[in-house]
Symmetry: C2
Subunit: 480 residues, 2 copies
Amino acid sequence: MKRYDQVAQALAQRIEQGQYRVGDRLPSVRAVCRELGVSVSTAQEAYRRLEEAGLAEARPRSGYYALPVARPETLPRVTRPAQRPLEVSQWDQVLELVAPSPEEDDRLMLGRGVPDLDAPSLRPLKRELATLHRRVGTYGLNYDSLQGSLALRRQVARLATASDCLLHPDDVLITTGCQEALSLALRTLTEPGDVVAVDSPSFYGTMQILKANRLKALEIPTDPRTGISLEALELALEQWPIKAIQLTPTCNNPLGYTMPEARKRELVALAQRFDVAIIEDDIYGDLAFTASRPRSVKSFDDEGRVLMCSSFSKTLMPGLRVGWMAPGRHRDQVLHMKYVSTGASATLPQLAVAEFVRHGHYERHLREMIRQYRRHRDIMLGWVDRYFPADTGVSYPQGGFLLWLELPGVDCVRLKDRLAEEGLHIAPGSLFSASGKYRHCLRLNYAAAMTPIIEAALECVGAIAATLRETRPDHAPTQA
Amino acid sequence: MKRYDQVAQALAQRIEQGQYRVGDRLPSVRAVCRELGVSVSTAQEAYRRLEEAGLAEARPRSGYYALPVARPETLPRVTRPAQRPLEVSQWDQVLELVAPSPEEDDRLMLGRGVPDLDAPSLRPLKRELATLHRRVGTYGLNYDSLQGSLALRRQVARLATASDCLLHPDDVLITTGCQEALSLALRTLTEPGDVVAVDSPSFYGTMQILKANRLKALEIPTDPRTGISLEALELALEQWPIKAIQLTPTCNNPLGYTMPEARKRELVALAQRFDVAIIEDDIYGDLAFTASRPRSVKSFDDEGRVLMCSSFSKTLMPGLRVGWMAPGRHRDQVLHMKYVSTGASATLPQLAVAEFVRHGHYERHLREMIRQYRRHRDIMLGWVDRYFPADTGVSYPQGGFLLWLELPGVDCVRLKDRLAEEGLHIAPGSLFSASGKYRHCLRLNYAAAMTPIIEAALECVGAIAATLRETRPDHAPTQA
Ligand SMILES: Cc1ncc(COP(=O)(O)O)c(C=O)c1O
Ligand SMILES: Cc1ncc(COP(=O)(O)O)c(C=O)c1O
């Protein structure tokens, strides 16, 4: 065992034994060096391990804090999806989510994947959007380059270094949101009838791409702390002719976990061994609560095997529809797909985002948002604890602004319909499965201000959930 | 023969016999009534027939004018594409056209399909784009409704009445440019390996959609005055399992013709008889030079068989990427395709266009542009006459801002490369065919100000074309 692993284990033991309480500040790196006689880098590495294990949390310019000890009794269970490729259903439910206009729908949208759009640190971007066209003249109104504006591709490549990705601007292709990136990737790699392995639960947008292209989803069991089961994935790769592995390994939607680095590395090795492509959805990656930005799966890939997809929809604003991808060795084919899909992407929003990033506003905005979302997560967890049945399973997000609840015995599609009468909206878990599993789960959003209105809403969701509950003992998570 | 047809014939004879010279004002509707003893509506209908036949041209608030008598010797020939379904090639050439950024490429772009972006009548739209976000708040930053903003769908439905289309806002789906609309339509209607009938020459963007989806193009002979040959199309429908007919019947890109109404009606009847869908690309339709907006093919369709695709890229600005479609009876499937393709379209540009249209700026802008483009067409035709070899075939656009030249014996791909050295850009005709036909043709743009620089450029294109010419007598159009 490496020295830093020993140190990490020692600290983990103390946390687990309750020597530090949840939220306590842990000894500083320097204190650990002194006490255990190790170097600064060893102590730092040990803390990174603790962080990955979900036992400690770094807060910028402050240090490490103890986390609730993995509360295994309240985390959602490891998922057990079907063991065979399935056609994707659930379109009606997704449509119900994406059809209403935010202008006309006055429900309190607790279920949608929308960031805080009122954040003051977004103001410089709004300013760019309003004034940029005067500076750029007709270029801003014309067709842009098919690849996307070089100014933005440069900034994307620069930002990617934070996740240890070395990209050249020519490796980057600007898209109409992450949805288009995912769509291009899947259409490039597959033909109708092919099988794609996915984490489970999985983002419904990707599932519906599978459906539209007549692909089959092979849902792989997924751990709410460490992500897709590599063991199950390996078995699946042996058994089925899988064309691509699609997953959201960092600040997962909906489960909130970040796959530990070692597992990301293993995933790439597995894909190499079976010669299969990986589609990495990194859309929430920049919103990780860890001290340093988690590495992307792409950063372990030296063969161009990983097609990385992302956008500014969760970090800035979804209405811009500015996304990007790094398609690796599939670049030429993806570029053709992009051309036929929508032609060049809209010009001015790209330039506005490029300016925003170039002036350092993006990094500043991320720092604010990460702080806000972490605080909101803790508040939200408190409310769930207070207002939901005791056996509720709840995720412990490592980033982003989405919470996943497991409500044994509660039909969350019914719950959603009941809540609509109260002017409330939640996303039922069944959206996140090819076959409508996770119907006893739901997704909540904690991005915007945590007002008394939100608290009252949570109380209402919890209360109505309790009334809908069928008492079937085999739903209790402890029996899983 | 109907009375108005007799009147039309009488007038046509006089034009053809040279009784009126090109550009002469023709007798007013009232004068025709008096002289030939017919009703106002008969005289009006007769003029509409003349207009459709390309013999007269209406100028708003002024009357009808004689056109060059169909100059059959200088019009491009009726095309004779291959008689069998083909795989589409030419991607490299299209990529060369769409890859450069307008910011970095300082060639004079004579070949691209870009409208005049300096038009003063666009100013209110630029103002909307700059100020709108303040009025609409976070709605402008959020995901829009999947169908698109109701405000814009209302305006699109209202505008569509000009082409005799009765659409409800719910029949309209906002897309990311016309390219996405075409892509969704084709993917909804076909499976890999299917055959699609297209006009020929045909917009390269659609051809590349066929390629990306492994569809085959059956190019139908097309008349540069009346469009796709219905006779050839009927034969093709009998012979091949055609899944869809895709065409640009109004202000065609690249040939500039508008199919006469009667032929549009016949086309719909033919599609009914063979139970096949029509994808109508109407992107240039609002830019017709005729007194009243030509009817769309969709307007003859009472079965929801026509999927109409359009955008504001040619009438306003392409960089906005605001398009729309009326998918008829395929709405539900197309909506699913739209969701997986890019999700909801960008919010603010939709709202800005809706405001611009709502305030009447769009119709005002169209009037200006139509006047400008018609004037530019005439200037451009003069320059072609002056600077190009005498046997050059040239289209006579009925709308839009694109001219098609046929240069017997000239390889226009070579011409394009030679012109790049002079800082000039043209679009070689081979882009517009599945198999690279029309290599002796080229497309020119006359949207922007017709300055001495453009004239000098035309002179240069004509001169270099003359030097590249191989003198093979079988290229002369008169021998076709
Ligand atoms: C994991 C994930 N991927 C992709 C998307 C789609 O992103 P965009 O809005 O940029 O198309 C979302 C949005 O909900 C998402 O949650
Ligand atoms: C006939 C035709 N259809 C569709 C398009 C694509 O339009 P958009 O830029 O709105 O995607 C073009 C653009 O060149 C075109 O000429």
